[in-house]
């Protein structure tokens, strides 16, 4: 399946990754090569095959809904790029 440059731009926007305009052609070419390799899958008949998400077909284990973690807010805030008054700072989002 070939992929067009405008599709790469759309995917990059979804993935929240900026791509420089000068690089978009090269990125498109590399991803086209990978998708071409991946296209071998389309020839396989999988009509009766159940998709496998976990190699051991394990089911999701649940635990009791109880608070078990101690509050380590300060340790986690200490490694953030920008905090103030216990809050994470981001550029202004509300005018």
């Amino acid at each position: 399946m070939a992929i067009e440059q405008d599709e790469i731009e759309k995917i990059a926007a979804l993935a929240r990754i900026r791509i420089q305009p000068a690089q978009i052609g090269r990125v498109t070419q590399r991803i086209t090569e990978i998708l071409h390799m991946v296209d071998q899958l389309q020839a396989v008949d999988t009509s009766d095959v159940e998709p496998m998400a976990n190699p051991l077909d394990a089911i999701q284990v649940l635990r009791a809904d109880e608070v078990t973690e101690v509050n380590r807010r300060e340790a986690f805030q200490a490694i953030a790029p920008a905090v103030e008054n216990g809050l994470y700072l981001v550029p202004k989002v509300i005018e």
Binding site: D39, Q40, N54, R63, I79
Partner: protein
């Protein structure tokens, strides 16, 4: 001291031939004087290591020591270490100092292991050559113009060069076994879920698994005894009971049935590497094993299947790097979208961005069924091939890689050619099986690895086969030229 196995070092520590402080100093000095040649470490933890060594010496003196107490090891820089920078080979985490330890680190610390530092790796474990590191490539101690393999290239090179007696690694598509093969050491990827993933930076969560890298199968067994086991904080960690992985090392191989998948010996395998593997198989036959030809008919689909599933899971896992809570943040963001997109553009390297884009595409509306669901269906067919084989044989064997370590730069501009390097290792991750690489020959001065694949939770059997092979051969005892000896 630097060329001894973990088992030999344990004996030396417990009989008082040397202290952990002396041993740790020896390795720290070797790292300081030699690692500029290999670039195998990203961070060295001098002070913490010496403090841990002194604590281990006290435990040994008090008679409270286990087999790993006082043994120095290196951790792949993918495992969170409390208070010690954990970069995952990425600019994104260049400034990240975790406030907690990975479960694997906690377990090894509990048993008295001394952490020397954190080893270099392909960024977010994505690569087969260790050339995708923000901290520069690692060089293979056997030939510094060649790659060490990846993604656990720093761990493999450090052990091969005698900068650590053992190391931790992770394997999502071959990242323990392939560098172990390229560097002439022994590496084990356990069954999916055998070792906790808590605190191991996530790449592809249904494939990722941590394991030991060392000189011998026996050393890998000693490390696995500490690392393995259920972790209530990792919901994918297995509740299947562990065993003493050293207990059956010396068992006879008489009657062992070894399957040789014909797909692993065909075109694409370097003839000199094939000759080494054939010789190793003859050795196993002489030890009492029976060789049986088997088939894994979906082998040609493992690379396309992996390169949908792994990028899809990576695109989800790596969405957490947003420049808000930890890690890299771009300068002067103009708005929230600019903060996200520029942080991720600048913080991730080329291969990581490529895989995020492929994964985002495979999961996006209109393509999910054609790519992601299809790959999950073929994944089941690949696993079923192995289940069918294990009806006839106990262990599967073949080459770990198509050839010996390739030259730095020779594949770095062609992602698909690089992906083909993992042709023999990817299926093991897709099927969740344990796999091991043991040194089995030399081609042009570079090591060759024999891959052994076991049944789910069959680690003890693999280690047994590896150990018996190493009792009968000396490939694991070969060392690359040591620059410290040349200088002396």
């Amino acid at each position: 001291m630097h060329d001894k196995t973990v088992a030999q070092l344990t004996a030396g520590l417990q009989t008082g031939q040397f202290s952990s402080a002396e041993l740790t100093r020896c390795f720290l000095d070797r790292i300081a004087s030699l690692d500029s040649r290999y670039n195998s470490f990203i961070s060295v933890a001098d002070e913490q290591a010496m403090a841990a060594a002194r604590a281990a010496d006290e435990r040994i003196a008090a008679g409270d020591a286990g087999p790993l107490t006082g043994i120095p090891i290196a951790h792949k820089d993918i495992f969170c270490t409390d208070g010690l920078r954990t970069s995952c080979g990425s600019r994104m985490l260049d400034n990240f100092v975790p406030p907690y330890d990975a479960t694997l680190v906690t377990r090894l610390n509990r048993d008295g292991v001394v952490a020397l530092g954190k080893t270099n790796m392909d960024e977010f474990a994505m690569g087969s050559s260790n050339e995708n590191s923000f901290y520069g490539p690692v060089r293979n101690p056997w030939d510094t113009s060649a790659v060490p393999g990846g993604s656990s290239g720093g761990s493999a090179a450090a052990v091969a060069a005698g900068l650590a007696p053992a190391a931790t690694g992770t394997d999502t598509g071959g990242s323990i076994r392939q560098p172990a093969a390229f560097c002439g050491i022994t590496g084990l990827k356990p069954t999916y879920g055998r070792v906790s993933r808590l605190g191991m930076v996530a790449f592809a969560s249904s494939l990722d698994q941590a394991g030991p890298m060392a000189r011998t199968a026996e050393d890998c067994a000693l490390l696995l005894n500490s690392m393995a086991g259920h972790d209530p904080q990792d919901s994918t960690s297995s509740q299947v009971p562990t065993e003493d992985y050293c207990a059956r090392l010396a068992d006879s191989l008489q009657g062992l049935r070894i399957g040789l998948p014909r797909e692993y010996f065909g075109a694409g395998l370097d003839p000199a590497t094939a000759a080494c593997i054939d010789q190793a198989l003859k050795e196993l036959e002489a030890l009492g094993a029976t060789l049986v030809e088997v088939s894994l008919p979906h082998s040609h689909l493992t690379i396309p299947t992996y390169y949908v599933i792994a990028p899809a899971e990576a695109s989800t896992n790596l969405s957490r790097y947003d420049g808000v809570r930890y890690g890299y943040r771009c300068e002067q963001p103009t708005d929230l979208l600019d903060l996200y997109t520029r942080t991720r553009e600048e913080g991730f390297g080329e291969e990581v961005k490529r895989r995020i884009l492929v994964g985002t595409y495979a999961l996006s509306a209109g393509y999910y069924d054609a790519y992601y669901k299809k790959a999950q269906q073929v994944r089941r067919l690949i696993k079923q091939d192995f289940i069918d084989c294990f009806g006839q044989v106990d262990v599967i064997a073949g080459p770990t890689t198509p050839g010996p370590a390739f030259a730095l730069g020779s594949k770095s501009d062609d992602p698909v050619a690089m992906y083909l390097e993992d042709i023999y290792t990817l299926a093991v991750n897709l099927a969740g099986l344990p796999g091991m690489s043991v040194p089995a020959g030399m081609v042009g001065g570079k090591p060759v690895g024999l891959q052994l694949i076991g049944q789910h939770f069959g680690e003890a059997r693999l280690l047994n086969v590896g150990h018996r092979f190493q009792q009968a051969t000396d490939w694991h005892a070969r060392r690359p030229a040591d620059p410290a000896v040349e200088a002396a």
